[in-house]
Assembly symmetry: C2
Amino acid sequence: MTISMVFRANSINHTPSFPNPTKTHFLSPQNLLHFYKKTPLKNHIGEFSCSSPGPVVVGLAADSGCGKTTFMKRLTSVFGGAPKADHNHQNPDSNTLITDTTTVICLDDYHLLDRKERKEKGVTALHPRANNFDLMFEQIEALKHGFPIEKPIYNHATGLLDPPELIHPPKILVLEGLHPLYDSRVRDLLDFSIYLDISNEVKFSWKIQRDMAERGHSLESVRASIKARKSDFDAYIEPQKQYASVVMEVLPTQLIPDDTERKVLRVRLIMKESGVKNFQPIYIFDEGSTISWVPCGRKLTCSYPGIKFFCGPEAYFENEVTVLEMDGEFDKLEELVYVEGHLCNVSTKFYGEVTQQMLKNCDFEGSNNGTGFFQTLIALKIRDLYEQVAMSNGVGDGVGVGSLASTK
Amino acid sequence: MTISMVFRANSINHTPSFPNPTKTHFLSPQNLLHFYKKTPLKNHIGEFSCSSPGPVVVGLAADSGCGKTTFMKRLTSVFGGAPKADHNHQNPDSNTLITDTTTVICLDDYHLLDRKERKEKGVTALHPRANNFDLMFEQIEALKHGFPIEKPIYNHATGLLDPPELIHPPKILVLEGLHPLYDSRVRDLLDFSIYLDISNEVKFSWKIQRDMAERGHSLESVRASIKARKSDFDAYIEPQKQYASVVMEVLPTQLIPDDTERKVLRVRLIMKESGVKNFQPIYIFDEGSTISWVPCGRKLTCSYPGIKFFCGPEAYFENEVTVLEMDGEFDKLEELVYVEGHLCNVSTKFYGEVTQQMLKNCDFEGSNNGTGFFQTLIALKIRDLYEQVAMSNGVGDGVGVGSLASTK
């Protein structure tokens, strides 16, 4: 453990003077003294103890309205910590979700332009020009190295940039938003990343549900909004999926011929086979083989249209991946437990943990289909990855990252 | 054990007189004194010791040229006994195959009409009228109860009925031919039965291979022969498959679009799920589910067109069956061992026994595809069934059936 005095430098060339140099160490990259060029943090933010390992950093990339919030709820549920109720008392419009273990930062907070400015300049929020990647990188790097940051807030209600909020380094840091994998510097900070790839048919039906039913928009305005975003989405958001550790594709079912209802979904989990440290793909029955599996049969009966799984090796953007696919919906618990029992490389701590998690959060969106099921599987994978990192750093479950001991 | 004196009765109403009644016992059905109405056995055939259990009786139904001989070679190979060379010295045209454990009787020996008579009466060998089911039943029943028989011989070379041969009850009795499942009395004597169901496309290509290449027939005569047999085949042979414990379907491959070569085969093993004592269907990965499996992938590479397995529950003539299917060909040993390792309910005695058997008999027809593979699997199943029967009868492997101790 290192005791550090942390200062904010006013410029990159600033030479700091240390009140007690004998207490300051410049050791590993994890314990670097950081110079915050842009963060409006007070000069001397405190004296804090910092264990070597910083947070495990997870990126979650997706368009808006694609289920990121539900995913985050499942992830924090796996880690067990309750949301900290007092965090947002300064700004109720903060986008940050904080639990005992996990902090989820919304990357919209790094918007460089507010809503009005974007409108004036004709730039969508999807365009890199509307986002401050330098600050994003600096702040995520600081958190990763165990330092607190003062992160801006993009107020979704007003469309304005609100005063910043203080964020301490958590055990698990999740960056959710449009561009967690866009900037290579930010990308290199990630231990694990997910891209939610919602097919156009499904996205349209989801947006209609959310924007029309819940927000009172018209069908035309939903269509127009999707159309307006399309070219920037294709140019700046979608290409990120090649970098993700796992991609979750959500597609129309193939079990119902000519389905237009889009209620039953076919979900594909595309998992990189190598290059992701502390992560092994999930498979069914036999690793490396191509398998399709209809669990409904003699021992399990399912109602129409049933459930179909697929698993096999594929190529994805020149990467070798394992694809796990589920088409259909669960009717009842037995189906889920039955399926769970046949998955391999699932990072559960006991038999039936996936099912237990799904039951606990059964009121979450997608609990009866592959979206909820695979979100839960990924959440367990992230917990496992975190524990492997913590183990290799020689720190137990409860002491992953140093805590701030303010001098004030 | 019972010591019996066995006599042939000249008619069903014949009252036998016993030279030493105190030595003759009329006990269980297994030890019944038998009256052979038609078997031209000498009156007093001997005094013999007879353990309670008779042979396990297996029926193998198929059209001619459908691989019965290869199947039988694989079966006897599993039981390990060498063919008895001296059996056929009396009639080299005997159709019976005898090893230490197994006797394979060809049901053509129960032809009622010889070739000339069939021609005169316009009856094919497939028609029940051309076959003596009463004698078939009587003799199989006698063998099953541990008694020797004198079985007629149909001489395939001459087309005539030759003088009978003496057949002792073996441990495993196999009835191979056109009609092992036709007569309900014979059917009821079977412990296990197999129907080889060769699709018309494949059968035609096999017959051309055998009858043209090996026997010098013309294409027209092959076609004419198939056509001539078709209506009797459909009426009297094919319906037997509903009664079989397992049906082995041989079909054109689905891996090569528009394949006309018929070299690569798709083979389906249709196994009854209930009603067959001492037999459990083989499956892959998960019993009762529907699974397709392409083992070729990351861990196993196969050349074009690869190998595809399928397994799942189906209905077959109102019976619940498990279907195991293999499409494609094995390139090399690793593929076979790899597949064997993933089969469940295979009745092997050690890991790799199926592969070992296949290697031992690699020069047999169909060793690189599902026909040879499934024949071997069935042979092991029959061995297992035999051992279960022997076990439940309280007799060890080596003492299944009583041996004849001639008084002469």
